[in-house]
Each structure stands twice: as structure tokens, then as C-alpha cells.
């Protein structure tokens, strides 16, 4: 039994070290800013943007991802599939800018 537990632990460690089930990250949209403004994640990770402002925003990286309108107090998530560095913004408020680095 102990051996089996050890094997399972080893297996799960290997799994998370490789592709893994994917970690979850949160970016808060508040005061017309993305917080954190720059986020580094791994492939397979999930990023959730939560809009805490009183009106809608978008999370848009040209031709990569586009949330569409995210209402106040709503959220939108994206699973990072491809490595790269993606500058994104809010199409409603061009002054808002963020960056997602997928490793």
C-alpha cells in the first residue's frame, strides 16, 4: 500500500512537472487597469479576468483572443495553449493595456 501511495505521488509530481493539469491565475480589472499588468503563465494554464469596474471591459489580443464584452462583476477565462508574448488591451478603453507571457 505504501509503495502504491509512493508511486501515485511520484506519478502526480511528474504530471504537474510536465504538461500538468494547468494552474489557474486571476487578473483583476479595476480602476481602468489590468492587475497584474503583466502575467507569466505556462502552457495549459487557465487565466481568469474578473471585471470589478462598474461598466464593461474587454480582454483582447489582436487575432489571439477576444473576450467580447465582460459585464461589471463578471469574468472571462482563457486557456493558454501557445507559447509567446501577447500584448492585450480593452477595445472599449484603448488606454488600458496588459501583457500575457506564455512559457
Amino acid at each position: 500500500m505504501r509503495l502504491l501511495t509512493g508511486a501515485l505521488v511520484a506519478l502526480s509530481l511528474t504530471a504537474s512537472a510536465a504538461a500538468g493539469p494547468g494552474a489557474s491565475h486571476t487578473v483583476t480589472i479595476e480602476n481602468m487597469q489590468f492587475q497584474p499588468q503583466e502575467l507569466i503563465v505556462h502552457r495549459g494554464d487557465r487565466i481568469v479576468w474578473v471585471n470589478k469596474d462598474l461598466f464593461p471591459h474587454t480582454v483582447t489580443a489582436d487575432k489571439i483572443f477576444d473576450s467580447g464584452s465582460i459585464a461589471s462583476n463578471a469574468s472571462w477565462s482563457y486557456s493558454a495553449r501557445k507559447s509567446g508574448e501577447y500584448a492585450y488591451g480593452c477595445t472599449f478603453h484603448p488606454t488600458m493595456k496588459g501583457k500575457l507571457k506564455v512559457q
Partner: protein, 178 residues
Amino acid sequence: MKTIATCIAAILLALSAGAAWAQSAGPTDPQIAAIVVTANQVDIDAGKLAKSKGHSKEVRDFALRMITDHSGVNKSATELVQKLHVTPEPNPTSESLQKGGDENLAALKKLRGHAFDKAYVDHEVAYHEAVLQAMDKTLIPSAQNAELKALLVKVRPAFVAHLDMAKELQTALGKSGA
């Protein structure tokens, strides 16, 4: 065009009257609530006109954004004053804001095409500058209730972003001439 300049002057006067308050007692929370709701409503009304009458797509998009964002702010402001049992109290500043807004609408209704776009956007720049100044000098410092003060602080960055957006449009419209 003279009328638009008069409207902008009216807004500045209304809000600087508010600034003068800072030296004396300052507006009370019910008065601040009325100023906030009126300031937002005036911009929503101008936005509604510009959304249908705006000549360029950029101006119509900007107008839609003003309607959406300021409606969101007013929804929260209304919910907060209800929760706090504060009844917005009309005062010289909120009344002047309303009057300035009405005059702006009347002036804009006489214009069309590029002239309309330019007048609307010029007014938006002046309006957001004036509101920001009033927020910093009068409204935020005078607000007594912590939640009312927090709401004002929370919406301030939106006014800054709107001002940047309006200024950018103003520059673009200036370049497109006519």
C-alpha cells in the same frame, strides 16, 4: 459655435462654484450625490444625441461608451445613496450642470456632420476636465461618508481615461479638417 463655448463656460462656472465651496463648508453628502448623478446624466444625454447624430463612426462609438460607462456609474451611485438613505439634494452646482447640459444639447441639435462631431467632442474634453477638477478639489475632499468617498475615488480613473479618449478624438477630428 458661440453657444458651445457658452455651455463650456457654464460648466466650468458651475464646477468652480463647487471649488469655492472647498474653502467654506463644502457640499454635504446629499448635495454631492445630486452633483454626481446630474454630472453623469448630462453626459449620458449628450451621448445619446451623439450616438444617433454623430457623423464619424469613431464619434458614435465614443458616444456609446459614454452612455454605457456613465450609466454604470450612475447605477452604482443610485444603489449606494438608497442603501445609505441619502436623498440627493439639488443645489446650485447640480442645477448649473443641468442647465449647461441642456444648453449643450440645444446647441448640438443645430449642428450636423463634422461640425457636430467637433462641437460634441470639444465639449466632452471640457466636461471631463471640469468634472475631474471638481472631484479632486471639492467632491472627494468634502465627502463625509466613507462609501460615498470610495465610490468617487473608484470612478475617477474612468474620467481620466474618457478625457484621454476625448482628447485623442479631438486631435483626429482637427486633422480631418473641413
